[in-house]
């Protein structure tokens, strides 16, 4: 199995800034949400992280270690520097938030620790709206992500299974969001990707909603109330593998090919705060 993450180039895809055209009713949205680009409104899964303690393991799994336990080269195939744990120092639910915290500490041969969780085998869905409200960490070499993998990864392997990166971000570029799909023939450096720069704001000073709306033959990427990209089968130079269930991943990496290593100015610990993760499907 290969890791889903590789260094990505930014192939220009059809950039549809259609937020105004796609404003729909904000049914079911809470008052703190500004996201209005909704076509999928029937809630199928949510974790609001309202019970202090460890994560709800009826929905989530821990991915532990440096990737070698998952059959990957150390560093999760990306030369990442962290060792993932399930310790409360790295992952906990507190104050209505999921805290995933990257620390600089010597642990199991690694210089950093952090956490990564998935809903594999627990929450998997084909099509729908997948979104999370997150305040991101910051600093050189900090690499948080909210993403999806095809549920058939164990059968067909990556990238055949498909990967949808709803949110990736480099701590050294605090206003820039990256949304990407990887599939057969367009993975890693050839992935189909687009950046979005938050105007006069940054992702580490407040919460933002990162989401996709995914249906047959399209994936719309949005942040808050801005739809900043749509990817369709015409945009990918390979097979469209997004007509099957996917599961969710949340993680906070340190270093790695995407961001480069942290430097002396990187402040540790760094925490990704997740207010909620929600999944919707179309109203029947």
């Amino acid at each position: 199995m290969r890791t889903p993450f590789f260094h990505k180039s930014y192939k220009s895809s059809k950039a549809l800034i259609l937020s105004l055209a796609l404003v729909l009713l904000a049914v079911g949205c809470e008052t703190d949400e500004t996201q209005t680009v909704t076509t999928f409104t029937k809630l199928t899964f949510e974790d609001n992280f309202n019970t202090d303690g460890s994560i709800d393991e009826s929905s989530w799994n821990y991915d532990l270690g440096d990737g070698t336990g998952n059959g990957l080269p150390a560093g999760w195939g990306n030369n990442e520097l962290q060792y993932y744990t399930d310790r409360p120092e790295n992952i906990k639910v507190e104050g209505g938030m999921l805290h995933i915290t990257a620390r600089q500490e010597s642990f199991q041969g690694a210089a950093f620790t952090s956490a990564r969780i998935t809903t594999k085998g627990k929450i998997e869905q084909q099509y729908g709206r997948f979104e999370a409200r997150i305040q991101l960490p910051w600093g050189q070499g900090i690499w948080p992500a909210f993403w999806l993998l095809g549920s058939n990864i164990d059968e067909v392997s990556w990238p055949q299974c498909g990967e949808i990166d709803i949110m990736e971000y480099r701590g050294q570029a605090p206003s820039t969001l990256v949304g990407t799909v990887h599939g057969p023939g367009y993975s890693g450096g050839q992935a189909v990707s687009k950046e979005y720069v938050l105007p006069a704001d940054r992702f580490d000073t407040g919460f933002h909603i990162f989401g996709i709306e995914w249906g047959p033959e399209y994936i719309n990427f949005y942040v808050d109330d801005v739809l900043y990209n749509q990817i369709t089968p015409e945009d990918v130079p390979g097979e469209w593998v997004y007509d099957q269930p996917f599961y969710i991943l949340l993680n906070l990496a340190v270093g790695g090919n995407f961001v480069g290593p942290p430097n002396a100015n990187t402040v540790f610990p760094q925490t990704m705060l997740v207010d909620y993760v929600r999944v919707y499907e179309g109203a029947k």
């Binding site: 600093g139 050189q140 050294q172 570029a173 704001d201 580490d204 100015n265």
Partner: protein, 798 residues
């Protein structure tokens, strides 16, 4: 070709003048609406924004700034700055402020931004805002801003925009030549903006270090290293130096050290306090633990006539110019510090991490011709415990007639001092004759004073460095008249040092390791004790002396240069108590110190005197005395009992838990009773005494059958006979009944005017058949009805 146009060039020729501020400050009454100021963030886009002025620094190159319509980033013009070459007679650097004295409300912005380029790679030394030639209250400085030869945009963050509701200083800079060469840079589109990407504030004080300082009450210490660090929108960190007014400072213990809004720490009293700060609600990294160690001891004030002095460093004289007070001689010198300590207005040199350090007067200033001087003086205070083997060598260097180093005519002389002269926290005054500085062949071209400790002593204060002419005398001046002649009757005196009395035997100069030079000098024919260069000095009595019958210690003293002087009495233990003497004196000073002031020193067992402090002290007429008859009032408490409480039945004593007593004056008594305190010690005072009954009847009956002695301390100014009677009420425990027994002891001529302790075996009360039911204690004496009697420590013991 450049086409330059001077636009609105307003040069403040009165630079450095502080504008009066009182006109700008008014209290806001309840119904007043605070004034608001323009929220205009533009400074220079294509010309001066409304209200903007240009004021160059007074010593800068005034023509540095101009408006350039050729080279610009956008629009029609840019600000152009021409940095002069090194040493330009018209001003060797470029620097100016751009204020708007109407004030701007910048609270809605988070950064100052501008585009800039330069004719070559330049690094602007200082650039920022908040400088207004007034308070510079919200000064912000970015150091070392690197410019390129291309237009690039730069950001200088606002530490806390909420503070800037009326800011005058919109832009300022100061820049010198690069590698001695002038160059030109341009600034355009200069404005305050709300970027929204200035984030992750990380304020710091003391550059983020948790430090500690040890200081003295009254000393002020500024908080340095005030910075704010942001992560900017491009992901880079920016650290700016910011004014104290952006911070809120806190002291953990304001009774020890306070901190004001300017970040100035003031030490208040002994103890520890930690100073911390916040900026915009964010805790600042860094702190300082302030340890206040009481009051600072100043160096003795020099007494040489200024006409006879060439001073290098002293607040008492006009000092000669020097190249430096610390040459930071590379590569081996570790010594830090120079003339940068000011304590209560007294300038002091503080050296730390001392291995060696030099003060020089040679290169930029004349050498010193001290050929008419005879001595070198310096005051030194070690700031650490001095160990055996520690030393400090003081070297005086002459560079010879050529006034340069190393041409064969250089000479130097030195003197080394150490323990016991050097004591932690105490000033040592070094006065050395040039004739004793072997090797110093000439003092016509003196150029350096060097201190060398080889790191044996790492921290010292230095003060009063000067050369002087002692006029052939014996050093600092002394009194010219004798101390006043004592008038106390010899019968009432125990004298230690006085020509007026027969002195008890004592050793005037025991070797306690002190630095003080002790001598007896004759002043106007009067033998006088002199302590030269006092650090501390003992005086040992010949055995134990009982001065409890005395009331006062008298001392005559004279000093022109001491800043602190304490006198101690010491009893076995040692138990010692200091009494501070006021110094310096104007002529002879006489003090009469009540002996009670030396409590808890045992006045019956006095063994030593001690003096400590500094300076040169003259002492005379050191004696104990009592007023005639010993006085009417005891000034000291009765001696503290020594018996173990388990072996005592106490009726009256602060030393024990007392049993119940019906009364200390029965109604059949002939005496008046007053409960008083002497030095905090409860005492019974009987006056108009013929006899007084003290009763312990009924439940208060005292069973002293296991006790062996009766004890009472009395003090009387006038009684010639003193009697004690004990009465036992017998087995029936009540008066009468045929089983009462009693006995009275008579003491003739008790010592007057001093405490007298009676420890009487109960067996002496021979008429007392039993001590199991003691019910009465009766004091009586002569003159009948006229006695005054102080009573304390009434108890039985075994």
């Amino acid at each position: 070709m450049q086409k330059n146009k001077i636009n609105k060039l307003i040069i403040a020729f009165s630079l450095g003048l502080t504008f009066l501020f009182s006109n700008c400050k008014r209290d806001i009454s309840d119904d007043a609406i605070p004034a608001t100021f323009p929220k205009n963030g533009t400074v220079y886009i294509d010309g001066f924004s409304p209200g903007l002025e240009y004021l160059p620094f007074g010593d800068s190159y005034f023509a540095a700034f101009s408006v350039d319509e050729e080279t610009k980033y956008a629009g029609t013009s840019a600000m152009r700055f021409d940095v002069p070459n090194v040493g330009d007679p018209n001003g060797a650097y470029a620097g100016a402020i751009f204020p708007d004295y109407g004030g701007r409300d910048l609270s809605g912005f988070d950064a100052l931004t501008f585009w800039a380029k330069a004719t070559k790679k330049g690094t602007i030394n200082e650039i920022g805002f908040g400088q207004d030639f007034r308070e510079n209250k919200y000064l912000v400085t970015l150091n070392n801003l690197e410019l390129t030869t291309n237009w690039r945009q730069y950001t200088i963050a606002i530490p806390d925009p909420a503070k800037l509701t009326r800011e005058f200083g919109l832009f300022w800079y100061a820049e010198g030549p690069e590698n001695d060469e002038g160059y030109t840079f341009w600034v355009d589109e200069l404005k305050f903006e709300k970027l929204g990407t200035v984030a992750q504030p990380r304020p710091a004080i003391f550059d983020g270090v948790d430090g500690s300082i040890t200081t003295f009450a009254g000393v002020v210490t500024p908080i340095l290293g005030l910075t704010q660090t942001f992560n900017l929108g491009d992901g880079s960190d920016q650290t700016i130096r910011v004014a104290p007014a952006y911070f809120e400072f806190t002291s953990s213990n304001p009774s020890v050290a306070t901190v004001d809004e300017q970040g100035v720490i003031t030490a208040v009293s002994s103890g520890e306090a930690v100073i911390t700060a916040t900026l915009g609600g964010v805790d600042a990294k860094g702190s300082v633990k302030v340890t206040v160690t009481g009051n600072f001891v100043f160096a003795p004030t020099p007494t040489q006539d200024p006409a006879d002095v060439i001073s290098i460093f002293s607040d008492a004289y006009t000092n000669e110019p020097v190249d430096y007070y610390n040459g930071y001689w590379a590569p081996f010198q570790t010594t830090q510090g120079q003339n940068d300590i000011n304590i209560g207005g007294d300038n002091i040199i503080g050296y730390t991490q001392l291995n060696f350090v030099g003060i020089q007067f040679l290169v930029d200033v004349p050498t010193i011709n001290a050929s008419s001087m005879t001595h070198f003086h310096v005051d030194i205070q070690p700031r650490e415990e001095i160990q055996p083997g520690d030393f400090l060598t003081v070297r005086v260097v002459d560079v010879g007639p050529d006034n340069t180093f190393g041409t064969g005519d250089d000479t130097a002389g030195e003197i080394t001092i150490g323990p016991p002269n050097l004591v932690n926290g105490q000033w040592y005054s070094l006065d050395v004759a040039f004739s004793d500085l072997a090797g110093l062949a000439s003092r016509s071209n003196l150029a350096q004073i060097v201190f060398v400790s080889d790191a044996t002593i790492s921290s010292i204060y230095v003060d009063n460095i000067y050369f002087y002419d002692d006029g052939g005398g014996t050093g600092p001046m002394g009194p010219t008249t004798a101390a006043p002649t004592p008038t106390q009757s010899a019968a009432n005196v125990i004298s230690v040092f006085s020509d007026a009395y027969t002195n008890i035997n004592s050793n005037l100069n025991p070797d306690w390791g002190q630095a003080t030079q002790v001598s007896e000098v004759s002043i106007a024919g009067n033998n006088t004790l002199r302590y030269g260069g006092l650090n501390y000095q003992g005086l040992e009595l010949d055995g134990s002396v009982d001065v409890s019958g005395m009331e006062f210690l008298h001392i005559d003293y004279w000093t022109a240069n001491s800043s602190t002087l304490n006198a101690y009495l010491i009893s076995t233990g040692p138990i010692e108590t200091a009494k501070a003497l006021t110094v310096p004196t104007s002529g002879w000073e006489s003090v009469d110190i009540p002996l009670g002031d030396f409590s808890p020193v045992d006045l019956t067992d006095l063994i030593q005197f001690k003096f400590d402090g500094n300076g040169d002290i003259y002492l005379d007429n050191i004696y104990f005395y009592k007023t005639s008859g010993g006085g009417d009032v005891p000034t000291t408490a009765a001696p503290t009992p020594a018996q173990n409480a388990a072996n005592v039945i106490s009726m009256f004593s602060n030393a024990y838990t007392n049993v119940g007593v019906d009364t200390w004056r029965t109604d059949w008594s002939v005496a008046a009773l007053e409960d008083i305190q002497i030095q905090g010690n409860d005492t019974k005072k009987y006056t108009a005494l013929d006899f007084v009954g003290v009763e312990t009847t009924g439940g208060n009956l005292i069973n002293a059958s296991s006790m062996t002695h009766f004890r009472v301390d009395i003090w009387t100014p006038n009684m010639t006979t003193f009697r004690i009677k004990l009465v036992d009420f017998g087995a029936d425990g009540s008066f009468g009944g045929g089983d009462d027994t009693e006995h009275e002891l008579v003491f003739d001529n008790p010592a007057q005017g001093q405490w007298v302790s009676y420890d009487i075996p109960l067996s002496d009360f021979t008429g007392l058949a039993s001590t199991s039911h003691l019910a009465q204690l009766i004091f009586s004496g002569l003159p009948a009805g006229g006695g005054t009697l102080y009573v304390d420590n009434v108890y039985y013991y075994q």
